[in-house]
């Protein structure tokens, strides 16, 4: 589904240039849920933007279903790390969620129903009429997730999607993503800082180095599906994997800047 070969990205030029990614290779199979972990400032968001075609990487290439990504590919959704700035302040929450659905063959009523359903699934059934600024940080983040889920993309990119919600909600959302993935055959790339989470939701966990980012670890997660917050996390394989990812992440030197 997704093929990244020898990807590099440099921000700026001259002496102030910053090498965010260098020679990164990665491929994701159809229907896979890939978790990416890595130190802050590594280049994870940069990688995600390259996959989404939002920046043109300075080297290497990204292919989706064999096609070189030059512009944003069709049938893709992104949950941005900076969710509060990715919600449109001039629209109600429901309109924000329904907006991308205009690209689908749906009439107004269907769009509205789909938006409402997605909002319900993230626990915001009653927030549709509000404006984003009237919501708490975690609620805004959930709106951004609902927007991506409602879109039902073939490829979903999520950049720390559960960073601002409480533990209980976080677990619910993790399960929601797994469930939606199961129903709708999505391929998902999810960036997270929570090692437990990466193992719990991922089919595979990729560990990135500090900047310039490249892959330093690639672990297959062989845990039974459907997963369960209590039993899966108790499973010895889970504990083992989690420790291994932890070691990989900790093994990296601290990023200087």
């Amino acid at each position: 589904m997704l093929e990244i070969s020898n990807l590099s990205h440099v921000y700026g030029s001259g002496p102030g240039a910053h090498h965010a990614i260098e020679g990164l290779n990665l491929s994701v199979a159809e229907g896979e849920l890939l978790c990416i972990v890595g130190p802050s400032g590594a280049g994870k968001s940069t990688l995600l933007r390259s996959i989404a075609g939002l920046i043109q990487p300075t080297g290497g290439e990204v292919r989706i279903e064999g096609k070189l990504v030059k512009q944003t590919p069709d049938n893709l959704a992104v949950v941005f790390q900076d969710y509060s700035r990715s919600l449109f302040p001039w629209m109600s929450v429901a309109d924000n969620v329904a907006l991308p659905l205009r690209r689908k063959k749906m009439d107004k009523q269907q769009r509205r129903a789909a938006a409402q359903e997605a909002l319900e699934s993230v626990g915001l059934a009653e927030a549709g009429k509000k404006y984003p600024f009237q919501l708490s940080g975690g609620m805004q983040q959930r709106v951004a997730i609902a927007r991506a889920l409602a879109y039902r993309p073939a490829l979903m990119l999520m950049d720390e999607p559960f960073g601002s919600v409480d533990a209980q909600t976080r677990e619910d959302l993790e399960d929601l993503v797994l469930q939606v993935r199961g129903h709708h055959k999505m391929t998902i790339v999810l960036i997270t800082h929570d090692i437990d989470e990466s193992v719990y939701v991922g089919d595979r966990v990729v560990v990135l180095s500090k900047a310039p980012a490249h892959v330093v670890g690639d672990l297959k997660v062989e845990l039974a599906s459907p997963r369960d917050q209590i039993t899966t996390r108790e499973h010895s394989d889970f504990v083992h994997l989690r420790a291994e990812v932890g070691r990989l992440v900790r093994g990296l030197e601290r990023t200087p800047a």
Binding site: A52, L54, T72, R85, F88, L99
Partner: protein, 244 residues
């Protein structure tokens, strides 16, 4: 309430200054205001106001539907902006007053000439504000729609335009008063087709300073009313901004 207080205070100061002889040679504010109120019952003056207002409305409308899209184009395609910029900057400082003869030569109807000059002059605040507004759009907001596969036009229409709306609104706010100024000035200098400016010419040549000032008060009051109307509309359209 506070608004009226401010205006009242201002008027009182002016009146006092006039009465105390600080402002010589001009009729006191109260006299001007009474004259201005009297004009409301003057049919011929009201038709002058109508002539001015209709030109203003038409001019503003045409300017908005041309300058805003032009600003969107210049603001989104840098190559076009760089190429057109010298021409735009060449045209902008040309006073509409200097163009009056040209407009009157081109349009046999003075009303049309007036509208053309209004469009010319009030396009600039709209154009510039639209361009600066586009430069201020949050890139993450744009990326969000792009991420869902929307094309450049959809991003322009659904993100850039609403984000720019506050800037455009400011442009319109400025344009509103510019239309009045241009209309009255054109009428003042070139006459024709009536209007507040033509009334000013008549009052001026009869040495009716009170009436000139009264008509000027009307021009200002019309601008004030138009601005209030626009602000009300803006508050509805850009509700999200006023709420935060």
């Amino acid at each position: 309430m506070i608004r009226t207080l401010g205006v009242l205070g201002f008027l009182l100061v002016l009146e006092a200054a006039g009465r105390l002889g600080l402002i010589e040679a001009l009729p006191p504010v109260s006299v001007v205001l009474v004259t201005a109120a009297g004009l409301a019952a003057d049919g011929s003056f009201l038709s002058d106001v109508g002539a001015t207002l209709s030109a203003c409305a038409a001019g503003l409308l045409i300017a908005v539907v041309t300058a805003v899209p032009a600003g969107l184009l210049l603001g989104t395609v840098p190559a076009v902006e760089r190429s057109v910029r010298p021409l735009v900057e060449f045209l902008r400082p040309i006073p509409s007053l200097s163009l009056i003869p040209l407009a009157m030569f081109l349009y046999t109807d003075s009303h049309d000439a007036k509208i053309a000059l209004i469009v010319y002059t009030c396009s600039w605040p709209l154009l510039i504000n639209t361009m600066y507004g586009l430069a201020d759009v949050d890139p993450i907001a744009k990326d969000t729609l792009r991420g869902f596969g929307f094309g450049p036009m959809a991003v322009l229409w659904r993100v850039s335009l609403p984000s720019t709306a506050p800037f455009i609104a400011t442009g319109v706010r400025i344009a509103i008063s510019v239309t009045l100024i241009v209309a009255v000035s054109v009428e003042l200098l070139a006459g024709g087709g009536g209007g507040i400016g033509a009334y000013l010419v008549q009052a001026g040549s009869a040495n009716r300073v009170d009436r000139m000032l009264a008509a000027t008060v009307w021009a200002g009051a019309l601008g004030l009313a138009a601005n209030a109307l626009f602000t009300a509309a803006e508050r509805r359209l850009l509700r999200w901004r006023w709420a935060t």
